[in-house]
């Protein structure tokens, strides 16, 4: 459903996206307003840097210069001395300007007036034999070390002292091996591994040093760790997380900047987006559009290569396609969003509340705001409200946490009443059970005169019923209610499976099985709706009958047909009907216990997820055992045969699915071929 929704919105003029917890985008109102384009006469501009005084520095690559622009885009300072295609610029707190002089393969330092101080090239170090010193970007951390991003360096970022002394490499990307590559490692010789499995780490594409001392890198063409927040030990605070947004093209972060407050802005050149993350790496929002064709607009990105943000959160995106800089000003929504999340992270929840309320006033969908406000209430001890907001935010973890707290409160509050009610119920049971003569009895068919014709001799069931002779409740004992009786007798599968499966298709067993199948589907449906939000966030939202039946019903006929086919080629005795009935009966644990389990889940929180999973596991193992027993009983196999044939059944089921998919694919292909053929023919005439 979400996919559909996005398909519908993809072309709309909404500049903003917010995201669900699983990083699915949905449209929101503008978070940034396009103001216009900045700069004229630029030629292949590259890195941009905004210093503490909101001065804008730009590496104007093909004009071989560094320019300082004012807010109107006019050049107020120009450094072109001896530079050759500089790509990166950084301004230290004292105003000194560091330039990654890419064409000259060196780092140059200028003072604030643009006077040359000194420069250095490749450090003379034995460890750098294989390293090409082609600096793309440069930044300085709080201790005064320089971080230099080198072109195509798979060693990571080069750390240097201010004098150009090599200190080491930093933030090297990992080279994860795929499954096949792991396998090949076993097979290949040393030589082959060296030549064929020589995976080099992707080199970072962007670099930023934040006020909090962390170093941020961005990497393109990688499946995880696209964005990294590295401490001085080169440990990634984002633990190599995958930042890929679903339904978008694979992300390619081309530029990166971090505001003074720790908000991360990154451009994605594959999707034409600017992502905005809080300092925990949570995606707050995104905006922008990819340039396709000739719609050259502010906010439609061609090749974003640099990004910078000033103290007012105004955003500057350098775009090579335009030879210019897109400028955006933040909306109130954006400012509140940023303030809220940073206040939350700083633990100043009371301040955050106002921001989050402002955000939600404008858009009640935004999940980060809902979970942010949930955190505020959680901290305040209002767990019920917190739960409500976490539910809106689809944040199962924090929801469960709030629920845990709430449960403690409830238990504490109502423990007395709860105990009293239990005691009273127990007393009632003791007193009235005697009077009503309610007891659990084992009803044998043979004991029943009216049912003497029933051929299911030996069948029985455990039920709770009044044993009084003329009880009106004993309807199933009467003639004309065999159906109901047979229906109930299917429950015996839980107690004595073999007996039940034997001859189960007789006496209208097929109809009983169909009835149970309906019950099974209903149970599946209700379990879906009743399960605790913490365990199943989807619930019945976006319920689709087709999907539901495909998951819950379709496997049954496939399994039955597979069973029948395997049975015919082996010496199975099972008839089609008996296989069907036994399969449905074998699902009984699910049919009976799914709904109770869902109800039990309501009392649990994520802390007790193991209990929930265990109960669910028992249920499923039970089903598997019953299925196994059903096959053995119905087909009359020995145990060994059963295992073999069950394996065959699995294989046949899989083949059936594969065949159906293939057939569908072939049909589609041949249709589209014909279609294409006709169209091309018509187009030509």
């Amino acid at each position: 459903m979400k996919k559909l929704m996005f398909a519908a919105f993809a072309l709309l003029l909404f500049a903003g996206f917010s995201f669900t917890d699983d990083l699915s985008p949905f449209p929101i109102q503008d978070i940034y307003t396009p103001l216009g384009m900045l700069g004229s006469g630029l030629n292949n501009p590259s890195g941009i840097f905004i210093d503490r005084h909101d001065r804008i520095f730009l590496a104007d690559r093909n004009n071989n210069r560094i320019v300082q622009l004012n807010r109107a885009g006019e050049i107020v300072q120009e450094i072109s001395e001896t530079l050759n295609q500089p790509e990166g610029v950084f301004v230290a707190d004292n105003g000194d300007i560091f330039v990654a002089d890419t064409g000259n393969r060196r780092i140059v330092r200028f003072d604030s007036n643009g006077e040359y101080i000194f420069s250095f090239g490749q450090p003379d170090d034995i460890r750098l034999q294989n390293t090409m010193f082609i600096p793309m970007q440069v930044a300085m951390d709080l201790r005064g070390n320089l971080y230099v991003l080198l072109l195509g360096s798979n060693e990571g970022i080069m750390v240097m002292s201010q004098d150009g002394e090599f200190l080491g490499f930093f933030g090297r990307n990992q080279t994860p091996l795929t499954f096949t590559e792991r396998l090949l490692r076993f097979i290949y010789t040393e030589e082959q591994i060296r030549t064929n499995l020589n995976r080099v780490a992707p080199s970072p594409s962007a670099l930023a040093v934040a006020q909090d001392g962390f170093i941020y890198t961005a990497t393109q063409a990688t499946d995880s760790g696209q964005l990294k927040k590295l401490n001085v030990n080169s440990e990634d605070m984002f633990v190599n997380r995958n930042f890929q947004v679903s339904q978008f093209n694979p992300m390619a972060l081309s530029a990166l900047t971090v505001s003074d407050s720790g908000v991360i802005f990154a451009t994605d050149r594959n999707n034409g987006l600017v992502y905005i993350y809080n300092s925990n790496g949570e995606l707050l929002a995104a905006f922008g559009e990819l340039l396709t064709g000739g719609n050259f607009r502010v906010g439609v990105f061609g090749d974003p290569v640099g990004i910078a943000v000033n103290s007012q959160y105004e955003l500057f995106v350098v775009d090579r396609t335009y030879n210019s800089i897109h400028v955006f000003s933040p909306t109130d929504l954006m400012l509140n969003l940023v303030a809220g999340t940073q206040m939350n992270l700083a633990g100043r929840h009371d301040y955050a509340e106002q921001n989050w309320n402002n955000v939600l006033r404008e858009n009640s969908f935004i999940q980060v705001a809902n979970s942010g406000l949930g955190r505020v209430y959680h901290r305040r001890g209002d767990y019920l409200t917190a739960m409500q907001f976490m539910r809106r935010a689809v944040n199962q973890e924090l929801y469960s946490e709030a629920r845990w707290q709430q449960r403690i409160i409830v238990i504490r509050q109502y423990f007395g009443i709860f105990a009293a009610v239990l005691a009273i119920l127990a007393a009632f049971w003791l007193i009235f059970a005697k009077i009503l003569r309610l007891q659990i009895v084992w009803v044998k068919n043979t004991t029943n005169v009216e049912n003497s014709q029933n051929k299911n001799a030996g069948q029985g069931r455990a039920i709770l019923l009044p044993t009084g002779q003329n009880s009106a409740l004993r309807v199933w004992e009467r003639p004309g209610f065999y159906g109901l009786k047979n229906f109930a007798s299917a429950l015996n599968v839980l107690k004595s499976p073999s007996d039940t499966f034997y001859g189960c298709e007789k006496n209208g067993g097929v109809f009983v099985a169909i009835a149970w199948l309906v019950v099974y589907l209903l149970a599946a449906f209700f379990a879906m709706g009743l399960t605790n939000f913490a365990f199943n966030a989807t619930g019945l939202n976006g319920f689709s009958l087709g999907n539901f039946l495909a998951v819950n019903l379709l496997p049954i006929p496939i399994w039955v047909i597979a069973g029948y086919l395997v049975g015919t080629i082996t010496k199975g005795q099972g008839k089609f009907s008996s296989i069907f009935v036994s399969t449905v009966y074998a699902l009984m644990p699910l049919t009976i216990f799914r709904v109770p389990l869902a109800i039990i889940s309501q009392a649990l929180t994520l802390a007790e997820v193991s209990i929930y999973l265990m109960l669910q596991g028992i249920m499923w193992i039970w089903v598997v055992i019953l299925q196994f027993s059903a096959i053995r009983e119905v087909q009359g196999y020995f145990a060994g045969e059963t295992i073999k044939n069950t394996a065959w059944m699995l294989f046949v089921s899989a083949m059936m699915i594969v065949f159906a998919v293939a057939l569908y694919g072939v049909a589609l292909q041949s249709y589209s071929f014909l279609d294409e053929f006709v169209r091309e023919l018509i187009g030509l005439v």
């Binding site: 709309l12 003029l13 004229s40 050259f296 404008e362 009640s364 319920f543």
Partner: protein, 816 residues
């Protein structure tokens, strides 16, 4: 059935037939036993039959494909067009003879001179003592360093794009200097079509261009008016042979100004509400403004990735809503309105195309389109349409033309002491005159604002939508009644309640399966009760409905018969549009269901060419049909209303989604007036041209209040774009298929909306029906003069002193 198979299998197994078959004995038996031999023959025969059948099937399939293709071709043949006949030469015509510029037409304000050698013109404005030229003056040409082709184009009154091959994409530019051309000029005593509305003079001049080597002919006619002239293309033809005509521009460099000249000014282009390109502003972006009037014609857009329908009131791409462009040169202004014809409006900043800043309308003769060969991968190739867009389609049954085509024409205005504001005011008068629009009645505002009439509180209410396969009721009709009561209790006497998502599947309605109205909302009776209730409170109810697009067939709609086809001969890819006839039929079928509504919000109404062989038409015809449709709908609504209702509804029966100017008439309101630009980088400044042209005549709304910032709201106020709000009753954070909800829950926002309305309605009520005489924005303060009132709007975060009056931050001030 399965048991039988099973038995068979068992027998097989028990009798060991497999072994027998594989043994060598069996072959021997086969050779000897006559029965087996016969069986074998039978088998061979069977095989042959099968083979024959397969071959026959392949053959039949091939023939079927051929027939299919032929059939499509026949369809295309039936689209053949009536050749345009050249205009009759007027009786009182005299051929002009001589050389160089000759004054040919004159009235009180202008003298028009024609260059008999080239067909260029000079327009002398007597009052301003200023001359407008169709080609740059010699001084300005001296600044140009173009190549031969463009130097030729710059000095030509005509610029043609031609192609040798319709199946290619390569084109050439032709002008009178790089081709052999015979130019004949005639003076006509009476114009071809006497049109009293245009205040035209009797006399006109007609210039005929015959490109001998290209076999292309073109003739334009010029008639003076009080404020300029009307250019009409009376004849254009490429004789349907190579080289083919692709498009043509008359006077492409009229008013063009060289970037290096001293002349100050700007181009005016129809981007969003109106955009300016300053003469000195080219920052090396190298981009032009090229936009088709009224957006792309989807019949020529065979791109499977492009949506051709509106979703959520938002369209996939910004479109040009008004066919106007202009040039301001040193306080003199030229404004041109494309009155008829399929055209692209083009604005070129200096140094993009030539050294000149220029703006013009390029008439399309053949649209190019892509032959889509694979809808899945969106592969295809480009070609030019065989059928010119100007063509008159013939009804193949009667061989009579299906529509008469208005000649392409542009009305030029020459204004002095004028800029974009005066252009807007002239365009306002043009619209009022052309579409016979009445001024809106100013409201009788009371002293306190409470007792007097106020503008309506316009509220969008969403009924329901789908989430997957589940219908989600957002506001039941009962709850909508509660909303109406709430408004009434809060002193709102006048409201438009626009109901969305009231049909089957709510906002995700799959037309034509629109009914029944979901019972979860209250069904048809619930809707009726709600309308009754609202109307009793004095409110008018507007239903959002769509008679133009369908999502599925059925209900008497057939895809091949009833939908618009693209140039490739298929129903449109990005969404199916109904043909005009089918739309009308749908309206006829459903009109009874709408009879209680006070108005209809028309969704998805586009003007498209149609290549459906049942009903072929070009875009101009389609526009005329759309106009007729809107008129019919308005009539239906009016007929079903009592006088009481009409008073309540302020006589607004039709709400349009966007300001498509060709649909304007009395009783129409526009729901989404663009206030901001579309951020095209070629545009330097966005100006409220269109709102100013509309204000006082056609009510229009800005973006829904829920979706805009406070600054946007103030900007909307400054141009008189009415506020509208959106509410739902249910919780609003659910993920729905087709509805964008921001914050719209009734409990949370209703009171706030009433407060916002109360804050703004007084100003809106006082400026209702008054035209905008002056508009200026300086440093975040907007000053607007209406007839008698001056409105100051402060967009800044700080308060502003203006003429001794304080305007609080982000607030406004209205002075009588």
């Amino acid at each position: 059935m399965f048991d039988k198979f099973r038995k068979f299998g068992k027998i097989n197994k028990n009798n060991n037939v497999d072994k027998l078959v594989n043994s060598e004995n069996f072959t021997k038996i086969e050779n000897n036993n006559p029965k087996i031999v016969r069986f074998n023959r039978l088998k061979m025969f069977g095989k042959n039959v099968l083979k024959k059948l397969v071959f026959t099937a392949i053959f039949v399939g091939f023939v079927a494909v051929l027939l299919l293709v032929r059939n499509f071709n026949q369809n295309r043949e039936s689209l053949a067009v009536l050749p345009l006949s050249p205009p009759p030469i007027a009786v009182n015509s005299t051929i002009l003879q001589g050389n160089g510029f000759v004054p040919v037409l004159e009235n009180d304000n202008f003298i028009l001179s024609l260059d008999l050698d080239s067909g260029n013109i000079e327009m002398y404005d007597k009052q301003a003592n200023y001359t407008w030229r169709s080609v740059p003056s010699a001084e300005e040409m001296a600044l140009e360093e173009g190549n031969q082709l463009w130097l030729g184009n710059l000095q030509s009154p005509l610029m043609l794009t031609i192609t040798d091959n319709l199946l290619g994409v390569s084109t050439n530019l032709a002008n009178i200097h790089n081709q052999n051309v015979t130019i004949t000029a005639r003076l006509l005593d009476s114009p071809n079509e006497q049109d009293e509305q245009d205040e035209r003079d009797e006399k006109s001049v007609e210039v005929n261009f015959s490109f001998d080597n290209l076999n292309i002919e073109l003739a334009y006619n010029l008639t003076l008016t009080n404020d300029g002239f009307i250019l009409e293309i009376v004849w254009v033809n490429d004789n349907n042979e190579s080289p083919f005509l692709v498009d043509f521009t008359v006077f492409p460099f009229m008013g063009a100004t060289h970037g290096n000249s001293e002349i100050d000014g700007y181009l005016f282009l129809p981007d969003g509400p109106g955009g300016l390109v300053q003469f000195n502003s080219n920052r090396g972006f190298n981009h032009s403004f090229i936009q088709p009037i009224f957006g792309r014609d989807f019949a020529f857009t065979t791109d499977s990735t492009i949506t051709t329908v509106v979703e959520n009131g938002q369209f996939a791409e910004p479109i040009v809503n008004f066919p106007v462009f202009g040039i301001n040169r040193n306080n003199n202004a030229l404004m041109a309105v494309v009155q008829a014809g399929e055209a692209d409006i083009i604005g070129n900043p200096a140094m993009v195309q030539t050294g000149f800043n220029s703006a013009y309308a390029r008439f399309v003769y053949r649209r190019s389109y892509r032959v889509l060969t694979n809808a899945q991968t969106n592969e295809g190739f480009f070609r030019f349409a065989e059928t010119p867009v100007l063509s008159t389609f013939i009804d193949i049954a009667t061989f009579s033309p299906l529509a008469t085509i208005e000649n392409n024409s542009i009305r030029y205005y020459f204004l002095h002491n004028a800029g974009w504001l005066q252009m807007a005011q002239n365009y306002r008068d043009y619209l009022a005159e052309r579409y016979n629009l009445q001024r809106l009645q100013p409201l009788q505002t009371g002293q306190t604002g409470q007792t007097g009439q106020r503008i309506p509180f316009t509220l969008n209410i969403i009924g329901g939508d789908m989430a997957g396969s589940a219908f989600v009721p957002l506001t039941t009709f009962n709850q909508a009644e509660n909303i109406a009561s709430f408004l009434h209790e809060n002193g709102i006497t006048n409201a438009n309640l626009i109901i969305h998502g009231w049909q089957r599947r709510g906002n995700s309605v799959r037309s034509p399966q629109k009914y029944p109205i979901p019972r979860q909302l209250g069904g048809a009776s619930g809707l009726n009760n709600f309308m009754q209730h609202a109307q009793n409170l004095g409110y008018s109810v507007i239903l959002a409905d769509n008679f133009s697009t369908i999502q599925q067939t059925g209900n008497g709609i057939r895809l091949r018969r009833d939908t618009v086809f693209n140039a490739q001969g298929f129903p449109l890819f990005g969404g199916w549009h109904l043909t005009s006839t089918a739309s009308e039929q749908m309206l006829q079928r459903e009109q009874n269901r709408l009879s209680n509504a006070n108005g209809i919000l028309l969704q998805n109404l586009f003007a498209l060419s149609d290549f459906n062989p049942n009903e072929p038409k070009n875009r101009a015809t389609s526009m005329q049909n759309n106009r007729n449709f809107v008129q019919n709908l308005q009539q239906i609504i009016q007929n079903s209303q009592s006088i009481q209702d009409i008073q309540n509804a302020q006589n607004l029966q039709i709400f349009l989604e966007s300001p498509q100017t060709y649909l304007l008439q009395n009783g129409i309101a526009v729901k989404n007036m663009p206030i901001g630009g579309t951020n095209l980088i070629v545009i330097d400044e966005t100006v409220p041209f269109l709102p100013i042209a509309f204000h006082g005549y056609t009510p229009f709304f800005g973006e829904i209040y829920n979706r805009i910032s406070s600054v946007d709201m103030l900007r909307a106020l400054a141009v008189g774009a009415l506020p509208s709000f959106e509410l739902v009753f249910a919780e609003d954070f659910r993920q729905l298929d087709n509805t964008i909800l921001f914050s719209s829950q009734f409990d949370r926002r209703a009171s706030e909306f009433v407060a916002v309305y109360n804050r703004f309605s007084e100003v809106y009520s006082q400026i209702q029906g008054k035209i905008i005489k002056f508009y200026r924005e300086i440093d975040g303060v907007i000053e607007v003069h209406f007839e008698g009132e001056i409105l100051y709007v402060n967009l800044n975060q700080a308060e502003i002193m203006h003429n001794g009056r304080v305007i609080p931050p982000q607030d406004f001030l209205l002075i009588q």
